[in-house]
Structure formats: structure tokens, C-alpha cells
Subunit: 697 residues, 2 copies
């Protein structure tokens, strides 16, 4: 959708403009005037007359045809009529500031639906309702009722919470942070985060896109838009409602239904979105990305006049993915030539409390020139001998000349305020404490790594789609919601997945014959379409070593199952080969997330998935790198790699099974959930020993 | 040690006082004068005359006998002589600001030792060297060369880093944080963190003690002092050098050798010290503890005019140990009576963007009166209708009247600055963002819980100490450094620990006989005092089911061991009973930390300890609660509790083994390390199947 008329209008009407200070309709008009809006600005008020020196029209119908933007701030009962009138004069965009729609319940929800319908029918770009409005500093548009006024800058921010907008505007004014655009999304009746990503991604004035989200309107569109943007511009998001309590709060206050946190995590990962964990981080990161080049690697050098804070920075770096750089011998020689004897040349480079600006300058020049150093952090304590302003200037010079990202951590308050100003003005991110500085540098390094990562490699999974469809359609015809065991085995074969040798035995004699053919030891499992959780009815016996044990197990399993589940039709037992020795149990599954589609999971069987929650997640479709990373990401990966002399499992076989799960999820939207459990991963290959699929209702 | 003369002197001499601004000797004297020091203040300078209006004496010898405090800021080569002269006139305390001692290497180290000797000999309380000095606001002492000057307050701060002191003083001035005392420890030649804890613990003006440490001088004394204090006053510590890179930096810059992070964690836990993870947290927590009462429980209520920020607070609370309180029905009724229809009554209580001070006041009164609510957080966005000052006053009133801890999160900058001031002045901790507010409230709740926890219960472990001593002395006599297997088994029996049935077999025939007596299946293990890592030489065979397997295993194990370790004396094999079915392998051990003594560890065998590092630590001696908590703290605890229908292990038996390990560590300081591995924990009891002990050299 072309949002030119919304972000950069030639003509704006304020519908509900008022001459009374304190009224929203007054604030919006005043904000537009104060922003220096260069286009045509028309107040609309039934009383007409002049408002803030501008002649008002008495109705929307009197507005010029082809108006770019109408800002609606009138009581709820008049909103829809005004919108229809705007449509009638061919207005191209509208902001509905008025509240009282979806967020207040059923009646509001229906009004909002109607509103969206009008806008869509007439191709009107509609922002809101229930929002603070929109600011575009380059277009000199401030169509909000906020009291603050942002400076121009290269950061764009959109937010699902108007209150957060208010707080952020106020905070940014104090922190000297400027914005290209500032958008309050409100209830997202028409325009949502995906539209913002698309527009801001193409906006030359925007270098970094920030967002605060409580939910995502349309997961697939969001993913597609974000993926287009993130290779060119960093997108940083704060997602709230990530915990149960948060999600309850989110639902009760905007009517938004929060998706599962794992799905959001996987979606952000897939789209290359940087996730902020807290409000302060959102803006720490924004400042870093807006001003600094991306580092060419993870190696950080810390230069400081303060021993303790230097150690704290090293601690924080060690906990991150950054690496404390080892300086090259020639750099060490350079430093030795002028640093005092008590200085510590090893990173963190402690140039001692009596360091002046010149010592900082020479040290920074030497360190920045070292090819092993990818980024620099200057940690300063305002000691008596430190000329903070001169040091700040030395830092800005290195930042300008080195081509590497440079950050300041000037600790303190009054003693460093002048230094903070100099650095901020020169576009060097500066922090009060070491830890957030390190977090920002790490985010830059991660993003650089991600952007440099190769395009995903897609692996074609050969499969018999017709056969697979036949099985699923047959199940649906029979009204079966869960596909287990025998039918599921057929499906596995259609996907060329290796399965253990299996025979259906309808009697204990058949079981004995099958076991003889397969070879001892064997496993017996209850075979019944009605019993999906076999172990709940004691329906599995493993390690049966001889004829006697097989005969006994068959009778035992089938009679208990019939007793416990009298309604079930018991076909008999499946006889299966035992897992090869040394094989490890893993679980591969997917669940269809309402927002983002199939969320594939991987983990080790037993306690690892169920108790330790040691699981990796990705959204389908998966690339080869996704499958590889999923395996390597779990903490129990060491068990697969081989622990205490055990051989490694066959990773290629495991990757193939994960990719097949992804293909299955993409092939059949009617499958709601699927799980291969256990997959027996061994040195030679991997076997899918059991499987369950649920179909959507 | 009585530190009265140091913190609250009647007479102070500045040795090296100077009339030249910019010199340390000038700044110290000036700071003393500016602080309004009410006692006698005497500059010492060889030139004599008058400095800053005070008559100077030309040497230390001229100072009055029984001087309280001498502050030494003269070149290094004169320091020791001055100190001797101070001793000669009977001075009671000294601060050595001069640097160039332990931190510069060997020569400095010896000078510092000499300095400490003089002070100890004469019972002089010596702070430093290489420090910034000391401030006590109540005594109007500022014996530092810092440029900042702290406000009086109830927070005491001591720091091993002078640079951090400088930064913190500067920061505190901007943040309006006041201090009772402010101490730069420097190299800790005599006075260290333990002395500070003792003094500040008894200081009525100090409500909260903060410390920044790079290492601890004397672990046992530190533990003892801290434990005395923390039940009465919160002690909050930031420990740096926690990571490998940080520790390297710490060693190179102060010559301090950082202890292992686990030992520090266990020490802080044992002593009830609250550990801050970052610099900002140190002071966020300090403000909270200095002003608020402790909550009576974990239930938090969040009242807000800002939906999004309210959700963010709920998210943060959910991730913490706090619980979002459920309001009682009567509170809900009260709220319904005056809140607008669109308000959300469920915690977070969203009273909507147009809330005025009166609505805040009534809501807070109702919520604070609810007995299910233990603490309150007010999250405010500076909306157009919010009268921030009036709301701040409403919050301070509730804080004053409710008797419950109350916190503010007033988001923004210029729009909330007046609110921040009102809250800070009234002693209500206020934050810009929700996350640090929640972290502070959580710390208060945890500390309250800890302080309410019962006194530790000590369990007497019955043991034959004489027999145990005999075994260990015999090993020492033989020059053995590791006690394994047979001797170790005897030690286990001396401690009444259950061990599996074991026989030493010197030949394959003896092995067969032993296996027959014990009953199949059995385990064979190589028996040699020189081989402690048995599996490295393939020295263990498990699950031997019959005579043939035992005979074969014996030959196999002994011949391979002799081949791989030709120097070892192979006694034969131990024949042991197999672990009972369903038993789980755990590891119990200890390692003697240089600083804090025996660090006991507990974890599950296999991947859990070695790969997942799923281990709990405590310092010996352990109370019953310690042993219980160690078992329950590991993530894999569920495996012990019983997973998938397995029975729980016998926890009492496991606790007894952990407590015995603690007793063993306390009984024999000559044991450096010990490990019971594996301990077989089953439904009935637990058996120590193998054990290794190392003696100190």
C-alpha cells in the first residue's frame, strides 16, 4: 500500500479541530502548525470560523477533492460518517485518533470492522483507531496529540501502545534521540506492523526501524515484509505479553491475542529481526545501529583509565558473544613506546587514572589500527586529571577516522555530562555503565554476522505426494483425527523415511513368526487406531529376547489394552526390530502456530524435552542451515556428538528427518501437529520408530 | 578492630598537604575543610607556613600525641618513614593514598608488607595504600582527593576500585543518592572488606551496605563478618572478574587473584549477601533497600495509566520470583465503584490514559489495603491529562501510609522529571523503565524471605573419627596422594556410608568365587592404587551375567591395565554387586576453595554434570536445609523425583550422603578434593559405589 499520503501529505484536514486548548482537536492542529507543515492545513469544525489563525470549514464535504490526509478526533458516534464523507471526496489517507472500538468489547469491535470495510473499499490508508497519531519529521507532519515533539533523526518507531509512545517521546527529548517517523498503530483496523515495515524499509531517511508489538496481525505477511527489510536495515522489536501474566494483560487491554513466545522467537529469528529484551535496550540498540558502522568481526578492545570498570566491561564482554581482542605484537610495541610502566597493555587496556586526552588519543589510534580489533569501547571514570571534554573529542575523532564502530562508556553524571554531549552530537553512542554498552556492541556484531550469512540452501525432499495425500484423505473420510502407527508408517514410507522393520501380528503365533523373521530382540506395541498414547495402557514391551517372552508379552499387552480401553478396536500388536545399540532417542515435531504457521521443534527424548525444555524451534520451511542449527543449538547436543567415547550420530540423516518434517508441514496444511518420537539416531543413520499426526478439525 | 578514629576522628593530619591547587595534598585538605570537619585539622608540610588558612607543622613528629588520623599523600619513598613517625606519636589510624605498592610488582609488594607490619605492630587502623580515601558524612570527614562530594544518606559504599568510586560519586550527585560512608579500599594492606562489614554493620547511620569487590582478602573472616550483618542489614555486592577475561584483567591490574565464581556465589549465598549483576543494579537495589520496608510476601500489584508499559511490567514480574497478585473480591468491588468502564481491574490495573491524580489516589488506596498485595508499583506515562506532580504526591502518600513497599516507574524524561524529584525526595524509589523496578522489588522480596528463613538445622553425622584418621595417616605415611577403592572403602565405612558388596579378587578364580557369593550380575573394576581414572584404561566391566563373562573380564581388564600402565601395581579386580534396578547415578563431591574452604557440589551423573553443568554448590559446613536445597536446585531434579512413573529416590539417604561429604571436608583439612561417583540413589536408599580422595601436598 502506498503510504505517501499518510506520511508525507500535501494537504491535511483536522476533523474535530478545536480552538479550546487542552482538547485533542486543538492539540493536533497546534502540533501540525508548530511542526511547520508546509502544505495545506484545514480545520474542520461545525461552527466554522477561524481556529489558530486558519479558516475552518464546517463539514468534511466542504474539503477539497483528493485531500491527502484526514485526521479524525471527534466523538465515536460521528467517526464512521466522517470517514464515509472523506471517502466521498476521494481522500487518500485517514488517522482515527478516537478511541472506543475493538478495545471496549463487542459493540466497538463491530464498529471497527465497519470502519475497516469503508477504508478498504475506497483504498484509503487508515491508521488507528484508538491511537496517538503519526509524526514524520522530514515532511514536517505532527498529526498527534502528544505534548512532546521529536527531533529529526534516522530512527523510525512504531508502537502498538500509545502510552509507550508518549513515554518514549518524552524520554527521547531528554536523551537527544531524533526520529524520522513516529507512528502509533492503535487497534490496527487496517494498517499494521507489516505495512509499516514495508514503507519504512523503503524510506531513505530511516536507517533503523524500531517497533513495540503486543501481537502481530498477520504472521505470514509480517514475515515476508520483515525479511525484505532486514538484509538492508536493522529492525529491532520489543514484544510484550511474552509471559503468561503479560499475555493476560495484553488480552484484557487491547483485545489482542498474544501468540506463543516460541513462535515469536522463531519468527523474529527467521526474519532477521533483532529482539530487544527491555525498553532501555530498544533505544540503546537504536542509537548504536543509527550511528555506527557494522563491525567486521567479534573482537572488541576496551580502553580505559579505570581499572574496576574495565574489568566489569571485560566480564560483560565474556558473557556475550564478543571476544576480547588479542592485540598484535606491533600494536603492543607501539603502546609500550608511550604508555607509563604501570599501564596494562592487555585488553582491557588500562592506561591508568592519570591519563590525559593525548594518552587516550595515541592509545586509541594504535588500537583502532590493529587488524585484530573489530570494535572499540572507551571506558572513562572522571578522575581529577581527566579532561573529559578533550577525551570525548579524541574519541569522536577515532570514531570518524577509523571506520570501525566506536562506543563510549563515560561513567558518572555531572562530571561527564559535557563528554556525553560531545559524543552524542558526533554520533558516538555513549552509556553511563559498561553492561549496556557491551550489549549494544554485541547486537551490532550479531547482526553483521547474520547479514553476512549465505542465502539459505533449500533441500528438495523426494516424496510420493499422491500416496501421502491418499493416506490423509482416507483418514479424513473415516473421520479419524489422529493418524498413528500403521497408516502413519505408510506416510513415513511415502516420505522415504527409514522406519524399523515392522510386522502386524494379529495373534501371538503371528507375533512369534514375525519376531523370528526380524530377529531377536524385538519390541511389541499395541496396534489400535483408538490408542495413540500406547504407554498409558502399558502397550509397549521392549527387549523381548526369545519366543517365550514374545508370546507372553502379546497376551499381556492386548488383554490389558482391551480391559483399559474397552471401546478400542485392537488389531493385535506390531512387532518391531530393537533400536541398534548406541542409538540415541530424539524427538522431531511440529505444531501449527495460528500466526506464523508450522513451528518445527527438535530435542532429545526423555527428560531433555519434557523436563529440561531443551528444545530448538524454527518456522517452516526450513533451510539446510536451519536444520543444522536446530541440532547444534540444544544444550544436550554433546550427547549426539558423542560423549565419553561414544561415536557421533549420523547428522546428515538427522537433518534429513528434520527437513522432511518441514516438508510434511508445508505439504499438508490439514495436519495440525505431528511428532516423530522417538527417532533413533545412530552412527549409521536414523530411524523414525514412532509417529503421531493430528489433523485439523 | 575499632575504626572510630578512622571514620569519626577528632583530629586529622594531612601529611603532604599542599597550597598548590591540583595537587592531591591540596585537594584532600580542601575537601576536609569544605566538609566542615569540626575537629582539629593540621596540615603537615616541610615548608611549614599556612595552608588554606591553617598553620602547618613541618614534620609528623610535631603532631600532637594521640592523633586520631593521619592521611598520607606524599611520594612513595617517604611513606614508610611517615608511618613510623605516626606510630611513634601514637596515631590511631592512617589512610595511605599514595600508590606504587603491590599493584606495581615485587618491590612494591615488599614495601606494602613492611607497611602492614608497622600498622599491625602499633595497632593502627590502616586504609590503603593506593586508594582514593574515605568519606563519612555524619562525622563531616572527607579525606579523599575526589572532586565530587556526596550528600548525607543511609547507604554505605566500599570499593576495591578507586576509579569506580570516582564514577559513583559523580553519578550519585546527579541521581540525588546520599551516603553515610564512602570508602576506597585500595590495596587492602591491613583493612579489608571484612573490617568494613563489621564496622558498617554496627553503624546506626547505615541502613544498606554496598560493596564492589575484585577479590576477598580472607574468605573465612569475610563469611563470618557478613553473616553477622546480613540478618540485620542488607549487604549488596558487585563482584567483578567473574569470567575468565574479567579475572585476567583483575589479576593484571591490582595483583588480586580472583577466586572461582562458583565459590563466590556459594559464599554470598551462605552469608546472605545480595549479589548485583551490573553496576546500575547495585544502586537501584541500594535505593530500594535504603527507603522501603520489606514486603511480607511475593505478591505485586501494578497500577498504571499506560497499557503497554503495564504489560511490560507484568512480563518482567512473571520472569522474576514475584507473583502478580490476585485482588480480593472486595477490592474489585471498591475499584468498580469509581473506575471508568474501560479500565482493566485485573492486575496490572490499567486505569486508562486519562487518569488524573485523584483516580490514582483512590485506586492506590484500595489496592494497598488489599491483604493479598505485598508490594506496589505505579507505572506512569506522561499523558496529556496526567498531572505528574499531583500523581507523584499521591504515590508518596500511599508509600507513607500503607506500610508496604511502594515503587514508581515514571517513564520519560522532561515530562516526568518533577515527578521523579518528588518521589526521590519522599524516599520512594523511582525508575525510568519497568524492568529495573521489578528487579528491585524482587530483591526486596527475596531478602525478606531469606531473613524470615529459620535458623539452620545442623545434623550430627555419626562416624569413627579415629579409624578415619588412621586410614588417612597411613596413606600419608606411604606418600600416597590419592586414596581410591579399597582404602577409600574403609573410609566410607568409618563414616557409616552404605557401599555395595565388594570383594577384592587377586585371580580370575577368586573373582569367580566372589561373584558367586555376591550373586550375578556383578561389576568388575581394576584394583590398583596407581590407577584412579579406571575407565581411562578400560578398567570397568558392568553387567557380567555368568561365570564365563567374569573369567573373561578379569583377564581382559588386568592385562590391558598392565599394558597401558606398566608402572602400576595391579592388585587384581574388585568384584561388586550391580546397582539395584531403577537407581539413578548422582555425584557428590567437594573441592577446597583457597578463599572459602570446602565447596560441596551435587549433580546427576553422566551428561548432567559434565556437559550440562547442572550442578549445585554450597560451602561446608552444610545445614540440613542446604543439603535439601542442593538436591532440589538442579534442573534434573525431576529425574530424582521420578519421571514417567518411576518412583522417587530416597531423598533422606541422599541428604545424609551430602551431609557426610560436608563432615568429611570439615574433619580433614588435609583432604583437598573428594568425590563419591557414582552414588546410586534408589527407592530404598543410596549406595556410594565409588570414591576418590586427593590429599593436599
Amino acid at each position: 500500500m502506498d503510504l505517501q499520503a499518510l506520511f508525507s501529505p500535501q494537504s491535511v484536514a483536522v476533523i474535530g479541530a478545536s480552538a479550546t486548548p487542552g482538547k485533542i482537536g486543538h492539540t493536533v492542529l497546534k502540533n501540525m502548525i508548530d511542526a511547520g507543515f508546509p502544505g495545506r492545513l484545514i480545520p474542520v469544525n461545525p461552527k466554522g470560523g477561524e481556529i489558530e489563525g486558519l479558516p475552518a470549514v464546517t463539514s468534511v464535504a466542504e474539503l477539497p477533492r483528493g485531500l491527502d490526509l484526514g485526521v479524525i478526533c471527534i466523538p465515536r458516534q460521528f467517526v464512521l460518517d466522517s470517514l464515509r464523507e472523506l471517502a466521498a471526496i476521494g481522500a487518500r489517507a485517514a488517522i482515527v485518533i478516537t478511541a472506543g472500538f475493538k478495545e471496549v468489547g463487542r459493540s466497538g469491535y463491530h464498529l471497527e470492522q465497519e470502519m475497516a470495510g469503508i477504508a478498504r473499499e475506497h483504498g484509503m490508508a487508515l491508521l488507528g483507531p484508538n491511537c496517538l497519531g503519526l509524526i514524520d519529521t522530514a515532511a514536517r507532519v505532527n498529526a498527534t496529540f502528544a505534548t512532546g515533539k521529536p527531533q529529526p533523526g534516522s530512527i523510525a518507531f512504531f508502537s502498538q501502545s500509545g502510552a509507550l509512545c508518549v513515554a518514549i517521546l518524552d524520554w527521547a527529548a531528554g536523551a537527544g534521540v531524533g526520529f524520522s517517523s513516529f507512528v502509533s498503530l492503535g487497534n490496527k483496523a487496517v494498517l499494521d506492523e507489516a505495512d509499516m515495515l514495508q514503507w519504512l524499509g523503503r524510506d531513505d531517511k530511516t536507517r533503523v526501524i524500531l517497533g513495540y508489538l503486543e501481537n502481530v496481525q498477520d504472521g505470514q505477511t509480517f514475515l515476508a515484509r520483515a525479511t525484505e527489510v532486514t538484509r538492508n536495515k536493522p529492525v529491532i522489536m520489543l514484544k510484550s505479553g511474552t509471559t503468561a501474566a503479560g499475555a493476560r494483560a495484553a488480552s484484557s487491554h487491547t483485545g489482542a491475542i498474544a501468540g506463543s513466545d516460541q513462535a515469536y522467537g522463531a519468527a523474529f529469528h527467521k526474519a532477521g529481526i533483532i529482539r530487544a529484551e527491555r525498553v532501555s535496550e530498544l533505544f540503546d540498540l537504536a542509537r548504536a545501529f543509527a550511528t555506527q558502522p557494522l563491525p567486521k568481526g567479534p573482537n572488541l578492545a576496551v580502553v580505559t583509565n579505570a581499572g574496576g570498570p574495565g574489568i566489569l566491561a571485560a566480564d560483560a564482554a565474556e558473557r556475550s558473544r564478543l571476544i576480547m581482542a588479542s592485540l598484535s605484537p606491533s600494536t603492543l610495541d607501539k603502546l609500550k613506546a608511550f604508555l607509563p610502566a604501570y599501564a596494562s597493555l592487555y585488553n582491557p587496556i588500562d592506561i591508568i587514572g592519570d591519563a590525559d586526552a593525548e594518552r587516550f588519543r595515541k592509545t586509541l589510534a594504535a588500537v583502532a589500527a590493529d587488524e585484530h580489533v573489530h570494535s572499540l569501547l572507551v571506558v572513562l571514570a572522571p578522575t581529577a586529571t581527566a579532561d573529559v571534554e578533550a577525551i570525548a573529542k579524541a574519541v569522536t575523532r577515532i570514531a570518524r577516522e577509523s571506520g570501525k564502530p566506536v562506543f563510549g562508556c563515560f561513567m558518572g553524571s555531572q562530571g561527564v555530562v559535557a563528554g556525553h554531549s560531545i559524543l552524542m552530537e558526533a554520533g558516538v553512542p555513549v552509556y553511563q555503565f559498561p553492561e549496556p554498552a557491551i550489549a549494544s556492541i554485541e547486537a551490532l556484531a550479531r547482526y553483521a554476522e547474520w547479514r553476512a550469512s549465505p542465502e539459505p540452501e533449500w533441500v528438495e525432499i523426494t516424496r510420493d505426494l499422491n500416496e501421502a495425500r491418499r493416506i490423509i484423505e482416507e483418514a479424513r473420510r473415516w473421520g479419524v483425527r489422529e493418524i498413528v502407527e500403521f497408516q502413519a508408517q505408510e506416510l513415513l514410507r511415502a516420505y522415504n523415511l527409514p522406519t524399523p522393520q515392522t510386522r502386524l501380528a494379529r495373534s501371538s503365533e503371528e507375533a512369534a513368526t514375525a519376531a523370528g523373521e526380524i530377529g531377536y530382540p524385538v519390541v511389541l506395541k499395541i496396534a489400535s487406531a483408538q490408542i495413540s498414547h500406547k504407554s498409558d495402557v502399558g502397550g509397549v514391551a521392549v527387549g523381548l529376547k526369545n519366543l517365550k517372552e514374545v508370546l507372553h508379552a502379546f497376551t499381556d499387552i492386548t488383554s490389558r489394552a482391551q480391559r483399559m480401553r474397552p471401546e478400542a478396536y485392537i488389531m493385535g500388536c506390531l512387532v518391531q526390530a530393537m533400536a541398534p545399540k548406541g542409538s540415541r532417542e530424539v524427538i522431531v515435531g511440529f505444531k501449527r502456530d495460528d500466526q506464523f504457521g508450522p513451528l518445527v521443534m527438535f530435542g532429545l527424548g526423555g527428560i531433555y524435552v519434557e523436563v529440561l525444555k531443551d528444545i530448538s524451534f524454527r518456522l517452516a520451511p526450513l533451510s539446510l542451515a536451519d536444520a543444522r542449527d536446530m541440532i547444534r543449538e540444544v544444550r544436550s547436543y554433546m550427547l549426539l556428538k558423542g560423549f565419553r567415547g561414544e561415536p557421533a550420530v549420523n547428522f546428515q540423516a538427522l537433518e534429513r528427518i528434520i527437513l522432511t518434517m518441514s516438508a510434511l508441514a508445508m505439504d499438508f496444511p490439514e495436519i495440525y501437529e505431528a511428532e516423530f518420537n522417538p527417532v533413533l539416531a545412530g552412527e549409521q543413520g536414523a530411524i523414525v520408530a514412532d509417529v503421531r499426526l493430528s489433523l485439523s478439525s
